[in-house]
């Protein structure tokens, strides 16, 4: 029902020298949907995400969020707009505790960052929020272990916790299940779905696991060589002949 556009790109383009990594991509993301981006390796998915989150500057084109042009905003503003982003390669503070990793994420949007005369634990609201988030992603028992000593799957959960902490409206998840043990994947996906539905959130997902993508997505955009090859519902994409040859290689069987 709700078809309001929350996130939009207009002819977004990124060139690295002669290589066009993202080639005039225009997509529209509807509010409160789970929008997946798939494509073979080197299709430009991660670069596209980097453009959306402001990690890199586009060569040309626009990123529009809630009707506002955020193309040239510095990267540290992104979360302040309500856009949280996770990384394909685990990107945490390795020598800090799990708790501190999440606490830092909670503190970021508050107005207490420069209160250097008070001890950090005295700010109860961040401490409480941290416990809530740790509970949510199931890391409560590991709160005081160092982040680098966590198993990989738990680090992925921590990564998710760090973007959930400030409660953003849009989550950009770059392969949240990358490198996870197969039996842990459904658990994390269920968590993402639950968060998306319960919290009225918009999720954009890059994912290689086709079973996951087909079962959870509302919309799928297929990228190939920097361009949008196709866009549609999971069943439309699965039936698309072009997608079959370019990406699925005709080998994928839809097991719905």
């Amino acid at each position: 029902m709700d078809s309001e556009i929350i996130f939009e790109t207009v002819k977004l383009r990124k060139e690295f020298g002669a290589l066009v990594a993202v080639d005039d991509v225009s997509i529209k993301v509807r509010r409160n949907t789970l929008h997946a981006i798939i494509g073979p390796n080197g299709a430009g998915k991660t670069t596209f995400f980097n453009l959306l989150s402001g990690n890199i500057e586009p060569t040309s084109g626009q990123v529009i969020y809630k009707g506002r042009d955020i193309t040239h905003q510095p990267v540290h503003r992104t979360i302040h707009f309500g856009i949280g982003r996770s990384f394909q390669i685990t990107n945490i503070f390795p020598n800090l505790t799990v708790f501190e990793n999440v606490r830092l994420a909670c503190q970021a949007l508050g107005a207490d960052n420069f209160k250097f005369w008070r001890a950090a634990p005295a700010f109860q609201k961040y401490e409480q929020r941290t416990w809530e988030v740790l509970e949510r992603v199931g890391l409560k028992d590991r709160a005081f272990t160092l982040a680098r000593t966590l198993p990989h799957g738990d680090q992925r959960k921590l990564e998710l916790g760090m973007i959930l902490a400030p409660d953003p409206e849009v989550l950009l998840l770059d392969e949240p299940t990358a490198g996870m043990a197969a039996e842990q994947v459904p658990e994390l996906i269920a968590l993402i779905q639950e968060i998306q539905r319960a919290g009225d959130k918009t999720v954009m997902l890059v994912e290689h696991n086709m079973n996951v993508v087909m079962s959870v997505s509302d919309t799928i955009t297929v990228m190939h060589l920097g361009q949008v090859l196709a866009e549609g519902t999971p069943s439309e994409i699965a039936a698309n002949k072009e997608v079959q040859t370019a990406y699925l290689g005709g080998l994928y069987e839809l097991n719905v």
């Binding site: 989150s53 990690n55 510095p74 990267v75 540290h76 503003r77 992104t78 979360i79 302040h80 982003r85 990107n91 945490i92 503070f93 390795p94 020598n95 800090l96 501190e100 606490r103 830092l104 994420a105 503190q107 970021a108 949007l109 207490d112 960052n113 420069f114 209160k115 250097f116 005369w117 008070r118 001890a119 950090a120 700010f123 760090m162 400030p166």
Partner: protein, 350 residues
């Protein structure tokens, strides 16, 4: 109510309080060995005690200086090769203002404070543009310019060019000659206050973000922190502390050698925190004691050639205590604690 807060504080800072008590009593204890009663020490009547006080003042100043380097290098992860400039601005500024301009001590302090902020801004200007080793080289360049300035013959009337700044008359009430015990306690008090401020800073929301920047600056940005301002805050606090150390240095030792503006003096700070433990704060204090006593002892009993042995000792410390004295101690005691916990788990009922 007060009891509840007071006793845990005592317990968790026991080691620090004992150290503090030792340093308060030190001049009087040394005086006893010299045959001087505490009353005589009080009126600076004991030569031996005065000598030890002098050595301790040097250690306190070094510790202040090393603390300021630990804040930017150990906690914020900024590798600066221009740190000696922070110190030298305080040292030279104090000397010139007292000697050439006849400023009072509070006025000098005010000017040095402003200069401290300004030089932090100067270093901060390049922060958004250069990272890591490039930042180290740019800061080295800036400090070298300052070094060239102080040894230039054109500024000789002020800086004493390559001979060094001489003939500063420190204010009478903390004169190192006649009121050394007072200067000793003033320096100790400054060190304690700065140390407590630093302890609070690194545990505050601001300091925690500085640590996050050291760990992974890209991620700190993504979390929504404009890391530039946090690095600038650390630089400013560090610069002010180093300038204050420089000021005390000139008051205690009214000769400022151009060496304190050179790269060698930055390396001194780096060496002290490597000995004591990078990113520990306590390490800067322990490192300063070890550094100064080692240097003094070897010079006294072996002579100038001792710097060779000095170097060997530093290499040994880096090889055998890779996290410094305090850092390695913390690691070991954490491991021992874990061991006991495992043992308790083994036999305890869960």
């Amino acid at each position: 109510m007060a009891k509840n807060r007071f006793f845990p504080t005592l317990k968790s800072n026991g080691g620090m309080l004992v150290t503090l008590a030792v340093f308060i009593l030190l001049p009087f204890i040394v005086g006893l060995f010299d045959g001087a009663s505490p009353a005589q020490v009080w009126i600076n009547g004991s030569g031996q005690s005065k000598f030890i006080q002098g050595l301790a003042i040097e250690i306190f100043i070094l510790a202040l200086y090393a603390l300021s380097y630990d804040l930017i290098f150990g906690f914020t992860g900024l590798l600066s090769f221009g740190h000696s400039m922070f110190f030298a601005v305080g040292a030279y500024g104090t000397g010139i203002l007292l000697k050439n301009f006849g400023f009072s001590l509070p006025a000098t302090f005010g000017v040095i404070f402003l200069a401290g902020i300004l030089q932090a801004l100067l270093f901060g200007m390049v922060l958004p543009r250069v990272k890591g080793i490039t930042f180290a080289l740019v800061t080295l360049g800036m400090a070298s310019v300052f070094h060239v300035l102080v040894i230039s013959s054109e500024l000789g009337p002020y800086t004493g060019s390559d001979v060094g700044l001489q003939g500063v008359v420190p204010p009478e009430f903390i004169s190192p000659a006649s009121q050394r015990l007072r200067l000793y306690f003033v320096t100790l008090a400054v060190l304690i206050l700065v140390f407590m401020l630093y302890k609070r800073f690194v545990n505050s929301p601001t300091g925690r973000v500085c640590t996050a920047i050291r760990e992974n600056e890209g991620r700190a940005l993504m979390l929504g922190y404009n890391t530039f301002y946090f690095k600038l805050a650390a630089l400013a606090l560090s610069s002010l502390t180093a300038a204050l150390a420089g000021m005390l240095h000139t008051i205690y030792q009214p000769i400022v050698s151009p060496n304190v503006a050179g790269l060698g003096y930055t390396v001194t700070a780096l060496l002290i925190i490597l000995i004591g433990g990078v990113g520990t704060l306590n390490g800067a204090l322990v490192g300063a004691v070890v550094f100064r006593l080692l240097d003094y002892g070897l010079r006294r009993y072996i002579g100038e050639s001792a710097s060779f042995i000095n170097g060997a000792v530093y290499v040994a410390i880096v090889l055998f205590l890779p996290f410094g004295i305090v850092g390695t101690w913390r690691l070991k005691s954490a491991q021992v604690k874990q061991g006991w916990e495992r043992l308790a788990k083994l036999f305890g009922s869960r």
